[in-house]
């Protein structure tokens, strides 16, 4: 029942938002997202006390096709639901800082998106999963397109939409094939099932799994994105309004990683072991490629976009290492990256609102007047660089350990990400915040109390993840263990 409330509460709030304006709209949107977070936290407590059994919800949706409305949460889903519900209020607060036209529609789309995201993280039926997967795309398309500022947004969002939808149609094709294998070869479709567990129980030949792997992986590879499916990503991240960028990078990216964990590794394990190496190499190429391009960037937002590309490459590498440590690292890094990247984009946005530019060359010498902003920026940045004590360190360390177990050479190359990210991020920090004075050095103002209020939970979570990762690892461990068993490891 709790799962259903988590799913539909944001949707209900989004619908109500159409009848509100101004302050009421803000209060309603923020209130709903905070209640949602409280519910997710309550779910976490429930999980600690009673386990995952109470979250399961199963109704017949299309009985003549054996398709069910089946949602539930295990530890892995729970962590991602927590991340989503934690970030959405922050994203909404960021949106409040901007003067968007038709703001209640903006907030409504963010909340609508939240329903889609939670749906993806909780679905246990392949069609329901696909359904929510696409539902999450519609609001983000409009958020990025309608409220984006630049002229290029039309082509950019169009490309994004086409890329993702083509990827997901491949996934759908894969799911339909799997679905047709679940029942008797002849007879009514009602005897088939699109349940996740039914997919897990299929006995598919290695040849089938080999091409099924690419069909299903296409959707996840585009969403994450993995090199060379990433070309939509930097443009879309840069041209979108910041709250939409936060949704894309903070949460939507995790849809891809999560999808691969739950719907790829255990479903086509032989395909994974056949092609895993290729994906690992692509992921490592992505790590280096993203990092090297990030060094050359002149736009802060674009730099963070490429940095995100580099980091998601490492997540994918850890994922396909198929080791417990690698997968646990992916989980921690999903949380840490979500927090880091949202924090980074928030700071970039705060700078842009104050100075009107995102170009590194136009900034410099900003620290003197902004001690609080500098500290917040530095914390987020160091966590992204993976300094010990921060969440980023735990995530990347576990990931690298996983990749190293898989192949020492790949591990060594992947470890370059830490050095590279230190290079491009610290260089950016130095030129933006320190360095010679710029036109904005004297006029810039520090973070306001409200903005600090947004940063405090993010910073707190960075350290919580860095100091006590076990409190999160414990939650995901049984789920990861089960996935690895199903994947034959």
């Amino acid at each position: 029942m709790l799962t259903a409330v988590l799913l539909f509460l944001p949707l209900a709030a989004a619908l109500l938002l159409h009848f509100t304006k101004g302050g009421t709209a803000r209060a309603l949107a923020l209130g709903a997202s905070l209640v949602e977070f409280a519910l997710a936290a309550y779910a976490a407590v429930q999980y600690k006390l009673q386990g995952a059994a109470g979250f399961d919800l199963n109704y017949a949706w299309i009985p003549s096709f054996g398709i069910n409305f089946h949602v539930g949460m295990d530890g892995l889903s729970l962590l991602l639901v927590l991340l989503t519900t934690f970030l959405v209020p922050i994203i909404l607060l960021t949106a409040f800082k901007h003067d968007y036209h038709n703001p209640s529609a903006f907030y409504a789309l963010v909340l609508f998106m939240q329903t889609g995201l939670i749906g993806v993280f909780t679905s246990l039926d392949a069609f329901l999963f696909y359904f929510f997967w696409e539902v999450a795309l519609i609001p983000i398309y409009f958020l990025a397109g309608v409220w984006g500022q630049s002229e290029r947004r039309i082509q950019v969002t169009f490309k994004f939409f086409l890329y993702t939808i083509v990827g997901s149609l491949f996934m759908l094709a894969g799911f339909v094939y799997l679905y047709l294998q679940t029942g008797p070869a002849t007879g009514s479709l009602a005897l088939h099932s699109s349940e996740l567990s039914a997919f897990y129980n299929l006995k598919l030949s290695a040849a089938e799994q080999s091409w099924l792997f690419w069909l299903i992986f296409a959707a996840f590879a585009v969403k994450m994105p993995i090199f060379p499916f990433h070309t939509w990503q930097p443009d879309t991240y840069t041209e979108s309004p910041t709250p939409a960028t936060m949704l894309l990078s903070g949460i939507m990216l995790k849809m891809g990683v999560y999808g691969a964990m739950r719907w790829l590794l255990p479903v086509v394990p032989l395909g994974v072991s056949q092609w895993g190496k290729v994906v690992m190499i692509l992921a490592v190429i992505g790590i280096l490629y993203g990092a090297i391009i990030a060094i050359r960037q002149r736009d802060v937002k674009r730099l963070i976009a490429y940095s995100s590309l580099s980091h998601v490459g490492l997540m994918a590498a850890g994922l396909f290492s198929l080791t417990q440590i690698g997968l646990q690292g992916t989980v921690v890094q999903m949380l840490a990256h979500g927090v880091n990247v949202v924090g980074m984009f928030f700071i970039a946005d705060a700078l842009e609102r104050r100075t009107g530019t995102r170009l590194i060359a136009d900034l410099g010498g900003l620290t003197r007047r902004t001690p609080v902003l500098t500290v917040c920026f530095l914390v987020m940045l160091l966590s992204t660089v993976a300094l010990p004590l921060t969440g980023g360190f735990v995530g990347e360390f576990l990931l690298l350990a996983g990749v190293y177990q898989y192949n020492a050479w790949l591990g060594a190359v992947a470890a370059l990400t830490i050095i590279f990210s230190a290079v491009y991020l610290l260089r950016m920090f130095q030129r933006v915040m320190l360095g010679p004075d710029s036109a904005h050095s004297e006029t810039i103002t520090d973070l306001t109390g409200g903005e600090l209020l947004i940063m405090v939970p993010l910073i707190a979570l960075v350290f919580w993840l860095g100091l006590f990762p076990n409190s999160f690892l414990h939650i995901s461990e049984p789920a990861i263990q089960q996935l690895l068993t199903l994947a034959g490891r």
Binding site: F142, F158, L172
Partner: protein
């Protein structure tokens, strides 16, 4: 049965209402009449009976598809408001023709005797020929009517020839009897005659539903015809045509499946290709919808590929029903918005939609929902329509065709997104004023948009196995 009588009576009454000085009463009266017919039609559910010595059969199949065509007409009528406003002198005749054409559509759905099919097609088509040319002073409208009439007359002739050959080969006009005669042929030497007959009937019906390679008239006719009647043409004619097509193939000719299946598959692939490629290269929204209606004929043909030789309890029939319903609703929605925009902004290209979201959020939202539904994106009825039809075909092993159709629907996203981009992402012309939408139209748009979303979320729960 009652619905046929009622529609005819209402049609005649309407002709006499034309003597009234004012048009104002007509629109609500027609809507009321259609509402009554819709309700009366539903009363026949599970009350099946053959009529007129088995010429027509009233069964759930008829009730379901009649429901779609009557509902389509009902929700379309509010968009003829501009005719009332401008004092169109022949409005009563237009409405009568629409009501009569629905009679034809119902006969096409419920026929058991091939002559009934022929009479139904003629009633429907002749009304449409007239309505295509209803904008008398417009050259394009005249062209559309003439083109439609000439091509339509040829197609009907071919269809009739096909029926005659089919009669010659089987000795009967009754669909069910043809089924047995084809399964156990009395005289094997008549087989070529049967095959030619089948082929000619497929060509005739293919023309009516605008399936490639018999679709060439569609873009010109759709563009020239006044938008209100284009909407009618692309929904009611298509739904009735496919209901007739499915009945013919599934009930009369299942035994000859080996013969007609490759033809249908080839037609289907060609229709999908030409429809989608054609639509992608248009700059006029109305012409894009014309090509898109060709492509949807292709998707519905996939449903025919999925037929298992039964009308009831087959996923193909349920799939075609669901697809026709969600397609009709989405099409009315898109043509409705397009008509309002076209009437008041005077243009029917994509640029005419620029900035609509800011000035008329409701219109923009409605058109977006319909575009997403036509593109088959989840949350809308179009997704499940495609899904059911594809599932039926895959069950029959037509995997290659379905893969091709999925690729084509990727292409379709490209052109269905164009109006959405124009409405939401492009700035409005400074000169264009917001579009006036009256209360009934507003209500209709909201209901149709919600219906589309309901079809994409909860309706499959009880409608997926209706037939």
């Amino acid at each position: 049965m009652t619905s046929i009588i009622l529609l005819s009576v209402f049609g005649i009454i309407n002709l006499f209402l034309g003597f009234l000085r004012s048009n104002k009463l007509l629109l609500p009266l027609v809507m009321l009449a259609l509402l009554v017919v819709f309700g009366v039609n539903l009363l026949d559910w599970n009350q099946g009976s053959p009529l007129f010595y088995n010429m027509l059969v009233v069964d759930n199949y008829l009730v379901a598809f009649t429901g779609i065509v009557v509902l389509t007409a009902l929700v379309l009528i509010p968009f003829s408001r501009s005719y009332v406003k401008t004092g169109e002198p022949n409005l009563a005749e237009y409405y009568s023709l629409l009501l009569f054409s629905l009679v034809g559509a119902i006969m096409m759905i419920g026929y058991d005797h091939l002559i009934m099919l022929f009479v139904g097609i003629e009633i429907l088509s002749i009304s449409m020929y007239v309505l295509a040319g209803s904008d008398k002073r417009n050259v394009r409208s005249n062209e559309a009517a003439l083109k439609y009439f000439l091509m339509g007359a040829f197609a009907t002739g071919i269809l009739l020839f096909g029926m005659a050959l089919l009669y010659g080969a089987t000795g009967t006009f009754h669909v069910s009897a043809i089924g047995t005669a084809v399964a156990e042929p009395a005289n094997a030497s008549l087989l070529p005659m049967l095959h030619i007959g089948i082929l000619l009937m497929i060509i005739g019906l293919g023309f009516k539903v605008s399936a490639a390679p018999f679709h060439f008239w569609t873009p010109d006719v759709y563009e020239g015809t006044p938008t209100f009647f284009t909407a009618f043409m692309s929904t009611v004619v298509k739904t009735a045509g496919f209901a007739a097509f499915l009945k013919l193939l599934a009930q009369a000719l299942p035994a000859a499946q080996g013969f007609w299946m490759p033809t249908i598959v080839a037609m289907c692939a060609l229709t999908l290709l030409l429809g989608n490629i054609g639509a992608a290269s248009q700059t006029s929204a109305k012409r894009m919808l014309a090509y898109s209606s060709v492509s949807h004929a292709g998707y519905l043909l996939i449903g025919l590929v999925g037929t298992n030789g039964q009308l009831f309890g087959s996923p193909a029939a349920s799939g075609i029903f669901f697809y026709s319903l969600s397609y009709s609703i989405a099409t009315v929605l898109s043509f409705g918005v397009l008509k309002l925009v076209g009437d008041q902004r005077g243009r029917e290209d994509y640029a005419g939609l620029n900035g609509l979201a800011k000035q008329n959020p409701l219109l923009a939202f409605a058109l977006t929902v319909s575009m997403l539904s036509l593109a088959g994106i989840p949350l809308t009825g179009g997704f499940f329509g495609k899904f059911f039809i594809f599932a039926a075909a895959v069950e029959h092993g037509a995997i290659g065709l379905v893969v091709f159709a999925v690729v084509m629907s990727m292409v379709s996203i490209y052109y269905y997104l164009k109006p959405v981009i124009a409405m939401y992402l492009q700035p409005a012309d400074e000169t264009s004023a917001p579009i006036e939408v009256d209360g009934v139209q507003r209500l209709t748009l909201i209901v149709l948009a919600l219906l589309t979303i309901a079809l994409g979320t909860i309706a499959p729960m009880f409608m997926s196995g209706l037939l």
